[in-house]
Symmetry: C5
Subunit: 304 residues, 5 copies
């Protein structure tokens, strides 16, 4: 995720690395080149182009804007829901650790502490699961010893939740607390499972492919037809204008694709590592550990 101050007016026009333009520069240049060719042709054979007007393009362009607007809105909603789920994850982890800490009798402090550390390991493991990366070393360091059958696991994070549940159940059986409090633990675990499933859903189900395809195609067709409507009246201004339109439309289209993958590696992907670190810091603080690890910082304005 990009973390930086609001750009000044001047910066607004020189930022390139963090801009969507970097991803669509070839498309925009193609439109510019094609526009140049169309303008040249319209100068050469003015009669053929005379009757073209920009009005029908207005119709198509506005229709396309509306559809792009709705799609972008839907993509943003997905991205924001992903962020909301991961934010809720942080909150649930804090509340679960608090509950563990307060309800464990002195005799079970070590077990409680291990359970809280295991929560950190779960978080790192879930983040890696969502990014299709191997589980990082810090996760292994915090985790409870894995059950023997772990080698055949399909879903490591879910299995780690089972381990947590087993710890709480053993605490209940040893009489630390009754069914009522066990249900509170189970509630928190159920929330974690729901968050995980929601993230898996967002990861696994993009907006319908045919919708994306339809909009991509219409946007391409529009941007490559537009010069015909403008060449006669705008002459070489057509090149600038069509490039600007291509920038706006391809830019929004590509941005929508980007926002669709909040767990990916794009510029707008959510900072899963930083969020896992936040959970780590919060839970270690609850355990009273010092010194606490530092929060992750953005590198070149990108927080991962």
């Amino acid at each position: 995720m990009i973390v930086r101050d609001r750009p000044s007016v001047w910066q607004l026009f020189v930022i390139y690395r963090l801009s969507i333009l970097r991803q669509i520069v070839w498309q925009v240049l193609s439109v510019a080149a094609f526009s140049a060719w169309v303008v040249a042709a319209s100068q050469r054979w003015p009669a053929t182009f005379r009757s073209f007007s920009v009005a029908p393009f207005t119709l198509l362009g506005i229709a396309l804007s509306i559809f792009l607007g709705f799609r972008n809105s839907a993509c943003y909603e997905r991205w924001w829901e992903a962020r909301r789920q991961l934010g809720a994850l942080i909150g649930v982890q804090r509340s679960l650790a608090r509950l563990t800490r307060q309800t464990a009798p002195d005799s079970d402090q070590a077990l409680a502490e291990n359970a809280i550390l295991h929560q950190i390991a779960y978080t790192y493991s879930l983040m890696a699961h969502l990014r299709d990366q191997p589980t990082p070393a810090e996760a292994a360091a915090y985790a409870l010893p894995p059950p023997a059958s772990a080698v055949t696991l399909r879903n490591l994070p879910d299995s780690m939740l089972q381990q947590l549940a087993a710890v709480y159940a053993s605490m209940m059986r040893r009489g630390n607390f009754g069914e009522m409090l066990y249900c509170r633990f189970d509630e928190r675990l159920t929330e974690l499972a729901a968050i995980q499933v929601a993230c898996e859903r967002i990861k696994g189900t993009p907006t319908p492919f045919t919708y994306t395809l339809l909009l991509h195609r219409t946007a391409y067709a529009f941007c490559f037809l537009l010069p015909f409507g403008l060449a006669q009246t705008f002459h070489y201004g057509t090149i600038l204008f069509c490039s600007l339109v291509a920038y706006a439309f391809f830019g929004l289209d590509t941005l929508g694709d980007d926002l669709q993958e909040p767990f990916g590696n794009g510029l707008n992907a959510l900072p899963l590592s930083a969020m896992a670190r936040t959970v780590e810091i919060s839970l270690l603080q609850i355990l009273g550990r010092t010194p606490l690890p530092l929060p992750l910082q953005p590198i070149d304005s990108i927080l991962r």
Copy 2:
């Protein structure tokens, strides 16, 4: 559901099988043919066509875009809600199995295991129910023996939930756990029932027919009137332009119809079988079974 990588720019224009175009190719061709006829007529009797301008079509076209945009947005919401409900189903099933597993004493492990397997059967049965298909064989293999009256059932999945509830109630009566934990089981069942009802709602209640009809008709009328507005200025470009507009409008309209039936057989229908398999894998993993079945893979980019 279509599962494939983001298409390259080139692929964007050659994909046909997975495109909405396949469903509307006749409509688009009709508009093209009609446009050709109108252009020919306008060349023949230019006086009649002279006064037509494209401006009023802009008005109508933008109005139509706005209405189509809202409808599409509503259809997408339904589709996404269906996905959300089924995702929640996976989460609830995992949490219920975890609860069953952790709270069953050693003496009731066999019963607990049967209950978890029955959950898998419920999932398969619900998916078949939503698709109006017969319950698949794997469901029967996992299910608890059906009650005698099963022959008269109207709603098999709901009846299977009752069986689960009976198992948990019998566990409570045998003293495995108290009312508090029984309530946790009941909560999960209540959530499953709510998910099932939500899916039945989405399946049984399309967007209002009169709305759909109104938009269909206006879209048709618009696409077949548009050539009159363009013929005089765009000449044979009219054919291309009208086809493009028809592609965009009929495409969105048809896509909306498609998204309305997330449990159907369309390209964008949700992958119910793959999701049932996910539940199966998750629950067998909780039971420690090996080897786990493989996740379903897309066939020709379609995940069912």
Copy 3:
């Protein structure tokens, strides 16, 4: 609610009975007649009409489309929320019946059965309440005997919920279950009460009258002014075009009015009777009754 297959392309243009057109046919014809008069006048006094252009109508028409679009979206949301509430009703009724059935000891089976039948009666009674109809006979047959004071009731369904609560409380006092399970029953009742209140809200609070009035008036003014803008360029095509615009705008406006009353008698009203029957079937299935009643079927494509 209209229940029918997706119409074929041909049917699209011949369906009349289920179309919004039936409700607005006089308005559309008036616009057509008025347009004809305007066109005739413009032929007679061309000088007066010469300067009118369609451009400002584009502005007004698009503004109107945007406002109509938002209002329609809001009306659809209300309709869909009503459907969601009634769907939730079905789910809650099933879950409540399941709970009653599983927790009743053998000694209280008769009472439990009566309570479940009373739930059916409640559903029928609520549906009649929402439709301002007298409670149907089937409700009375299933209901528990009414309390003596019933004659002065303002809100029959709410009173029937009280009766259910009294049954559960008496079961708790007889020791069938403890406070914990009683709370589960109370939760379901609270949900039923919330659903009922939500339906009463949707029924009793339409979208603000001044908003509706503003849009109605603007739509009328627009459709009757539009011919002046078109007559000069479109000649007799004006009649067709203005009728189409009137069809789209009046149609959407009227559809919004229709969707606002999901418990009414319109074509798009929700099938309350069919849903009550669904609850009846589900609950009788839970009781193991045979033969189960048949689901209601649409008559002339209308499900009531």
Copy 4:
């Protein structure tokens, strides 16, 4: 809130008292007068006006429509949320009264009855609090005796909730019910507190002032500039057209302001008194009182 039948086509044009027009009649007349002056000027100095065209106004007008549309949508959402919260209030009050009634033993019937009456008083008091009115007499009649410190209260409704909580706590201490049921009472109270806070939020936080100001100003500027664009082509039709546009834009803008204050005194304000009466009737019915008070009726189509 306006409660009346759908107006007939004829009434549509004669309703004045319930129309937004009454609030904006001076603005619309100003625009009309100014348009008349502009048209006269354009007749006098045609050369100056010749080059003005309506096209840029289309751009600005549509932009304004979109922004107005979004703002209106947000204002409507607030209004509808206020209605939803108050509807939920009714449901919670019924459920709380039901719970009190069913769980009170015979020995505590009087206390339970007083608590239910106090709920009615709370409702009236909350409604008055939201309307910045003094608490009505009926509230005092139903209320429990106020605590001694009441004279310094800042938030009377919240203090009345405390009194209810104290009643339930005393019932628990006398052994009427255990912690579990007390928690149910506390849940209902927590919901009431949340509803109250949500209403206070809607009352105290309008849509951002700068947003409102920006739209007001742009709407004014647009309506007073539009005549310049139309005068040359529409002549005296400009007056009618600009008035219509002013009616639509100022109307929507003012309607947004109105909907923002759902607890105020406007035509679209929610009928707080009628809703408090609904709660009163529902709770007295639960207590079996006769005769029940009558629901409030609209006066001159306005329900307060």
Copy 5:
């Protein structure tokens, strides 16, 4: 947050300090100056400008409006969610204090009182945390003595929640109440933690930077290109018109930026201090303290 009466028509045009105009005055003036230059150039070299028309700008301008509209809607949603979360905070604090007050036996009144005062300290501390300000003195006065390790804290508010949890756990251990009631306390704490995390999310995750950048750039490009399209027809009216468009577009864009930071120092930032004071008053009222502090008042129409 700006708190003032609805401005009169006259005030509408003279308010400057509270207007978005103050933040964009240089941009608007630049556009005006540039327009003047373009108009002068078009008078000097009319041939070059002759062919430019405003139609393509209409297309681009409407597209931009749609995208700005969606972004603004998203920014407003964030702002409103922040308000909703803080409103919920007030409600939860009241409910938690009520619970503490009612369940504490006479022997633990002092502890209960300290816990309630600590809630006030938590609120002040959270508000300061969200504003990146040092915790105010009043928070320290109300707070329980901090644990020894406080010097290394990363998240002070979360640590204060832990202290509250410890108090409730100690009350449970001393037998004030059972697990059931402890769970109610834990529920409220979990809600507080969720609210805190939601606020941290809104604070830490702006709308995607590339989206903002894309819209900023397109808005700038549009406003500086527009004069070319208008100069030939509008002459010096271009300056006024372009300034108005720049005002509307830059204004909305900047407003979106403002609304994105609801915990900042902008005009539209939420009144965190006033809300903390509201909590303070509510909780002191519950404790029966007199005299209660006064609510914060807006200074120069700004409530902080």
